[in-house]
Subunit: 411 residues, 2 copies
């Protein structure tokens, strides 16, 4: 690492994640998921968390090489046999309101070569065991954060013409820049959060019924959930703690109506999903359901994904990001959803966020379904934005309001 002031910037970054991202409070407990090769960042996060008054940081160290060897070597029976303590652990941590910090750094294709069906079976079994974590997260019963970190393999894949050291520096620099690590990151973030919140307020004031997307890669009408709320930047968990769940974040997003999606759309950036890269995901919808799906690369993984459960055949999120955004302007395709989704309009296959409808976190699953909020074990964002994309908002009485023109906010 030869990046100027790297150690200082990494400290600022860790402080931002802890104090703005998950917004650690006195006596908070934290579940940190981070790769084994991110020891320095992990230590800085631990230090920042205890400095902010945390009581405990539990680390779940990740290593996709070890996971890959397991998936490739174990028996069919062991593959889906998740020991009972995994569920007990998930239940206990969520019951005690552990906040989650998840640091993504694995290379986009770190699980390539694993049989897609075996991977899906394992993931489904694990998701079922850890369902309380997904539910607590999606309902904001805990504060949570997803952020990134550079890894040499990932860096070299993004910048193949550079030396490994150069590529690694380049990726860290891109992460610091897109995460707005300025001289005073916390002040910068307060201004940024205000800016995004104004966009959300404007969209909420329009009371839209649906959005109509038009581009070379899209002709689709996406109904919005009844009583939907556009959110941006931050959320408030059920303990009243305001947190910013994604760093970086450039999006304004809400819940689509799972009963009312019609047309077709193609993804415009590669998606890294479970260690595989999916390109040109093409989905055709009728009355909210995917009736046809294909991908140029990673098609098998896509087919397994949409077969997960009833909800994996519809959408759970619609998010607006101007084509002319800092991440997009970096012209880097990170092949990591956290970054790429914040460079582009995107949608998510699978679960919707209950907090994206009025009083949503207090409503039953049936009521949420009725309002159009999707339920699923999965939530997989894919990028659909492009420079030629126009989006119209359509209100209950049929009037049309320009939302996006040529890939950017219409006003």
């Amino acid at each position: 690492m030869t990046l100027k002031n790297f150690d200082q910037k990494l400290t600022q970054y860790a402080n931002l994640l802890v104090n703005v991202g998950v917004h650690v409070q006195k006596h908070q407990k934290i579940l940190l998921s981070i790769a084994v090769d991110q020891q320095l960042l992990a230590h800085k996060l631990v230090d920042a968390a205890y400095a902010a008054g945390a009581d405990k940081v539990v680390i779940k160290w990740q290593d996709n090489y070890v996971l890959k060897q397991f998936l490739n070597s174990t028996t069919d029976e062991m593959l889906t046999k998740i020991p009972s303590y995994i569920k007990d652990e998930a239940d206990t941590l969520m019951n005690e309101h552990y906040s989650r910090i998840t640091i993504l750094s694995e290379a986009p294709d770190s699980l390539s070569g694993v049989d897609a069906k075996r991977l899906a079976k394992y993931q489904q079994a694990l998701s079922t065991a850890q369902q309380t974590i997904t539910e607590a997260t999606i309902n904001n019963r805990i504060s949570w954060l997803v952020a990134g970190a550079a890894n040499r393999v990932w860096a070299k894949e993004l910048f193949p013409d550079e030396s490994e050291e150069e590529a690694y520096d380049h990726l860290w620099e891109a992460i610091f820049t897109t995460s707005r690590i300025t001289d005073d990151p916390i002040k910068t973030w307060q201004a940024h959060i205000n800016e995004l919140s104004k966009r959300a307020d404007w969209l909420n004031s329009l009371h839209l019924d649906k959005l109509h997307y038009q581009a070379k890669t899209a002709d689709i009408t996406i109904g919005l959930a009844k009583d939907h709320i556009w959110e941006a930047a931050g959320s408030t968990d059920t303990q009243g703690n305001y947190f910013v769940p994604n760093i970086p974040t450039e999006e304004v997003f809400t819940a689509p109506n799972l009963h009312d999606i019609n047309g077709e759309i193609t993804s415009t950036k590669p998606l890294s999903y479970q260690g595989n890269v999916l390109t040109k995901i093409h989905l055709v919808f009728k009355d909210g359901q995917i009736i046809d799906a294909s991908a140029e690369q990673g098609n098998e993984v896509l087919q397994e994904l949409i077969k997960t459960d009833a909800g994996s055949r519809s959408l759970g999120e619609v998010a607006l990001v101007p084509y002319d955004s800092p991440i997009s302007n970096s012209e880097i395709i990170f092949q990591n959803t956290l970054y790429d989704e914040n460079a582009s309009n995107h949608l998510a296959i699978g679960a919707g966020y209950p907090f994206n409808v009025k009083n949503g976190t207090e409503l039953s699953k049936e009521k949420l379904h009725q309002l159009g909020v999707n339920d699923s074990q999965v939530h997989v964002d894919f990028m659909v934005g492009s420079a030629d994309m126009n989006i119209d908002g359509i209100t209950q009485n049929g009037s049309i309001i320009p939302i996006f023109r040529n890939g950017n906010w219409a006003e």
Copy 2:
């Protein structure tokens, strides 16, 4: 790393640990405890385990910096509140006969600065939660292995006059040499195991009642448990799998009689225990019980250790290692028990191994106690060997048989 053939030697080392150490069988499951900065060795162990037919390797990544920050920062309540899933996890893994591989690499003083009482409280709470692991290990209900790996901080502490890279290479080289990583380590180990087993057979043929240690640092008589068995190199677990629980190993050991230890002894090498260094541990025994204890360095940690439970005031192991052994000849004080105990006669405070008496793993705790086998949550070896040490064996009828003369085997 500039050590010649490092990658090849590390692969041989991993293969030795898996195929001779824990002796992985088809469909075996493995619990690997290893530090976060040992990713390369971890991957090689995982590869070797699956190549040997293992079904699953669960890794518990260790990081003493993270542990230290927790111990220094958390509340008294959280310190000893071990969540229920930790016990559930321990019970499940032992119930399913997971074999254990533990790789030690943390610097000897990696937890120094932590309040000794807080550390002891935490360790005791954790040991209680994970008691099934200790019991399964000590009773050979599973196969298990403790081995080492070099760490830059540890290396620099051992070789302060060398550069960090040189010290790191030096420590790896010492680990490979003392672990007998030759051109054919598996063949070399078979010969070594035979050699040690012959020593154990000789001691078993003597049917000794007690040992009398005499040196500048020792004048103590240690009774041996009734029906004791001298073991060396390997053990057989209750599934019938022969394994070698320590690599390296130079010792021949058995269970002392907890009712019959009298005299005093001082440790001759520094002991690294829970991230603290203890020197010149001086213990006085009467009728098997420690009646006085002190240490020149780490005295507080020693006092907490012997207060753990009833069994932590007596001994659980007596082990014979010639002063003229490969580790001793390396003239390195590793400040790590795994190596230093195999360079020196040693004793252990705390639990004895039931397999060190006839049919011991099938006997009740009461019966074991009656035979003299100690029971405790702790088992802490400390080194007592020296160049001037003489040890006499005393038989039931009072005859004296020279066992050690001037620090080495008498014959």
